[in-house]
Amino acid sequence: MSKKKSIFQLLTEKPWEQDQIEADNEHQGQTVNLTKQKLGLRTLMAASTVLFSLFVVAYSDRMLVHDWRNMPEPWLLWFNTGILVISSLVFHQTTKYAKKQLFDKTKNGLYFIGFLAYSFLIGQLIVWYQLMNTGYYATSNVANAFFYLFTTIHGLHIIGGIYFWGKTTSKFIKRTLKEEEINNLIDICAVYWHFLLAVWLVLFGLMLSS
């Protein structure tokens, strides 16, 4: 592969000059040295980051109005956050196992991650149930509405993650893919898990601090 170039270097190339023509003829057709899945995930995470940032902006803007009533943070939310942290750590370890080709450890790691992800979702639903039982409906105050909205959108992202986790795990167990292909998939799932942890920490931090 050609050596790394910054976007500015790429954009200032003069494709009609002889030296550049010779260099360009060697080009392999790839802009960055990443698999298409990895780059695809990064693109999606960028779009998703914009989405969550706009939610944060809307939250911060709406917070300033006098009718804002803060919502209590049930202790269970801390517990759920803990689950998410642990699943991220486990995923990190699992990618290492996968690279060392430790089949059983990787498999157990993947199962445990799935279990944690489902537990997180169930935990979030219990939080919803508790809040609604104590009268914090989405309609009673906009702070509550934001909480339900954030947890739903984040939860949907997690469900999307679970879908790809499921596909990856079944491919891993069936051993249908080549070594580097399956590791690539496990890697991108792990990156996505860390991303969703980061998103959750920002959202949770925002709700705590307001």
């Binding site: 592969m1 790429l10 954009l11 200032t12 190339e13 003069k14 494709p15 009609w16 000059e17 002889q18 023509i21 360009d24 003829n25 060697e26 080009h27 392999q28 057709g29 790839q30 802009t31 960055v32 990443l34 298409k36 780059l39 695809g40 693109t43 999606l44 960028a46 779009a47 998703s48 914009v50 989405l51 706009l54 939610f55 809307a58 803007d61 709406r62 109005v65 006098h66 009718d67 804002w68 989405a138 309609t139 906009v142 509405a145 909205l149 959108i153």
Partner: protein, 609 residues
């Protein structure tokens, strides 16, 4: 131009005759492919071939036909509105239907026609072919993208059949009125509209992922970023914009859906409606406006940038000349894309924001005119001393330049706060945005369809019909929109469903309204000629030779035309140059395709731009 330019090939030979007899294989040498060829999905049944197709070319055609079909509905709606405006005495439309038609016309044209056609249609058709890929990066996701779009369109059209009809809130869907009693479709139509937009965004994100990854990672060997046709640069940058802008629409739609369905107060302030105090409290309608225009302004460029890119290629091919200032064109596309995120509040000058805020956005708006003007100059300089062929794509491209310039100049008026305030919500605004993002991109769409039609069907479209279509459309558009500028200056407000004889309305306005409506009916009917040409030529059209326009870019260099599944036969193409080597001195032909190796064109001296 080229005298100070040194060319190494010249040193090897000053021979300009038959190049094939000279064998210099070493200068053609390219390293072996390091990346594996893409695995292709092969369809097995009728369903997976013709309905749930995963071939990008086919998806592109599906996208284009669905978008054009929806756009025709938008066209008919504009007829109905214009008849009402010209002859208010007829009682042709109810006020509520007028507003519903305005809303649906706007939303259909901007999102479901132009965005879907440029990115979904041309993007899918051209990206793999022009980049030299076999297909998109994720064909299955690409197929899902199209079907999400279909469902979005169906949901949108379903709103015509729910009680209360479609929403009449205007395409900007501003709350609180969009979801408050008194606005047509405030409890049924608006929900379907919001759901449809959410589906569209979801579908688009899947498609956009494909466009970005395919352009970045799946190009042919030798195809560097700066050797890509400007069409690809335009579509690629527009896709990046869309990936960042559509989330804002999504956030706005989701929160408004909740306000409407659950009764939350994201955007809804405390208010009294029909004598009753609503349960909403404290919401911020301005927040929605910011979210909407943070999407809405980049959306203008999501439509415009692919048009810029396509028109650059059409001008270059049909004037047999290198595009003037290729790098500047790329920078302008990227620069306009980046700047487009910093101008959104110029749509909100009359929303009561801080004057300094308006000052900031007026400044950024005028700055964005700089790269845009560079593009216009470069198009004109491309034509300068070119061998201009007045083919259909060229006619439409020339029409585009004039129209875009016209719309751009009125944009300079409206970008200034003090000028905008009196002109705001008048027909001047209507004329401005129809010129700049209605007629101009549509002219490019037509030019592009006439240009790439042989690539899709293997046949040419009828030239005479096309010319009739061009002149009626081009002159007709000016007959429609020039008078609207004047109407705006004399203060005719937009969004009024009847403008009748009264002390406040000048008689010229009434006459012009009739004149405009007649022009609209004629221009609209002329599109039937185009549709006939489009469908009939697929069977009756003259058979196209290979590469009928003698273009350089890769899509014309496929082994078969129209290209088959997988595009390239056994061997992927290798690229040796950019796609703008037209009329190169010393070359045998007046074009050198991107795939032609250097040994075949010894002596040709590439011009510097």
């Amino acid at each position: 131009m080229s005298d100070e330019y040194e060319h190494k090939l010249e040193a090897k030979s000053d021979y300009t005759g038959d190049a094939s007899s000279v064998s210099t294989p070493d200068i053609d040498a390219v390293p072996d492919a390091e990346l594996p060829d893409q695995e292709l999905y092969h369809s097995h049944s009728w369903w997976t071939t013709y309905v749930f197709s995963q071939d990008a070319k086919y998806i592109g055609i599906q996208y284009a036909l669905t978008a054009i079909g929806t756009g025709l509905l938008g066209l008919v709606l504009s007829w109905l509105m214009r008849i009402q405006l010209a002859w208010p005495g007829l009682g042709w439309l109810e006020p509520s239907s007028y507003y519903q038609f305005v809303t649906m016309h706007g939303m259909i044209m901007v999102v479901y026609l132009l965005t879907a056609l440029f990115l979904g249609g041309f993007g899918n058709l051209l990206i793999p072919l022009m980049c030299g890929a076999r297909d998109m990066a994720f064909p299955y996701v690409n197929m899902l993208s199209y079907w999400a779009f279909v469902v979005a369109v169906v949901v949108l059209l379903a709103s015509f059949f729910v009680p209360g009809g479609p929403t009449g809130a205007g395409w900007t869907l501003y709350p609180p009125q969009a979801i408050t009693a008194g606005t047509p479709g405030y409890n049924g139509g608006i929900i379907l509209m919001l759901i449809s937009l959410i589906l569209f965004v979801a579908g688009f994100t899947m498609g956009g992922l494909n466009y970005i990854i395919t352009v970045l990672q799946l190009r042919a060997r030798g195809m560097t970023l700066m050797r890509m046709p400007l069409t690809i640069w335009g579509i690629f940058t527009a896709t990046v914009l869309a990936m960042f802008a559509f989330p804002a629409l999504l956030v706005g739609c989701l929160m408004m859906t909740l306000d409407s369905l659950l009764g939350t107060s994201f955007f809804m302030p405390a208010m009294v409606s029909l004598g009753e105090t609503l349960t909403h409290e404290g919401g911020s309608p301005i927040l929605f406006q910011h979210l909407f225009w943070f999407f809405g302004h980049p959306e203008v460029y999501i439509v415009a940038l692919p048009a810029f890119g396509i028109v650059s290629d059409l001008l270059s091919v049909h004037s047999r000349k290198t595009i003037f200032g290729y790098r500047m064109m790329v920078w302008a596309i990227v620069g306009i894309g980046a700047l487009s995120f910093f101008v959104w509040a110029h749509h909100m000058y009359v929303s009561g924001m801080n004057p300094w805020f308006g000052f900031f956005f007026a400044t950024t708006t005028l700055i964005i005119a700089v790269p845009t003007a560079i593009k216009v100059y470069n198009w004109i300089l491309t034509l300068w001393r070119g061998n201009i062929v007045l083919s259909l794509p060229m006619l439409f491209s020339l029409g585009f330049i004039v129209t875009f310039l016209n719309g751009g100049l009125t944009g300079l008026f409206l970008g200034n706060v003090t000028v905008d305030v009196p002109l705001s919500d008048t027909y001047f605004v209507v004329a401005h945005f129809h010129m700049v993002m209605g007629i101009a991109p549509i002219l490019v769409v037509f030019g592009a369809i006439y240009h790439w039609y042989p690539l899709v069907t293997g046949r040419m479209m009828n030239e005479t019909l096309g010319k009739v279509h061009f002149w009626i459309t081009f002159l007709g558009s000016y007959a429609i929109y020039f008078p609207m500028h004047y109407q705006g200056f004399v203060g005719v407000p937009r969004r009024y469903f009847e403008i009748y004889d009264s002390p406040y309305v000048d008689v010229s306005t009434l006459l012009l309204n009739k004149f405009i409506t007649i022009a609209v009916l004629i221009v609209g009917a002329a599109q039937l000629l185009f549709l006939y040409n489009l469908f009939a030529s697929a069977r009756l059209g003259k058979k196209a030779e290979k590469n009928p326009w003698k273009a350089n870019s890769l899509e014309w260099q496929t082994p078969q035309m129209p290209p088959e599944h997988g595009n390239w036969g056994k061997e992927l193409p290798k690229v040796y140059r950019w796609p703008y080597d037209f009329s190169v001195p010393g070359a045998k032909e007046d074009y050198i395709p991107q795939t032609q190796p250097p040994s075949e064109i010894i002596g040709a001296k590439v011009e510097k731009t």
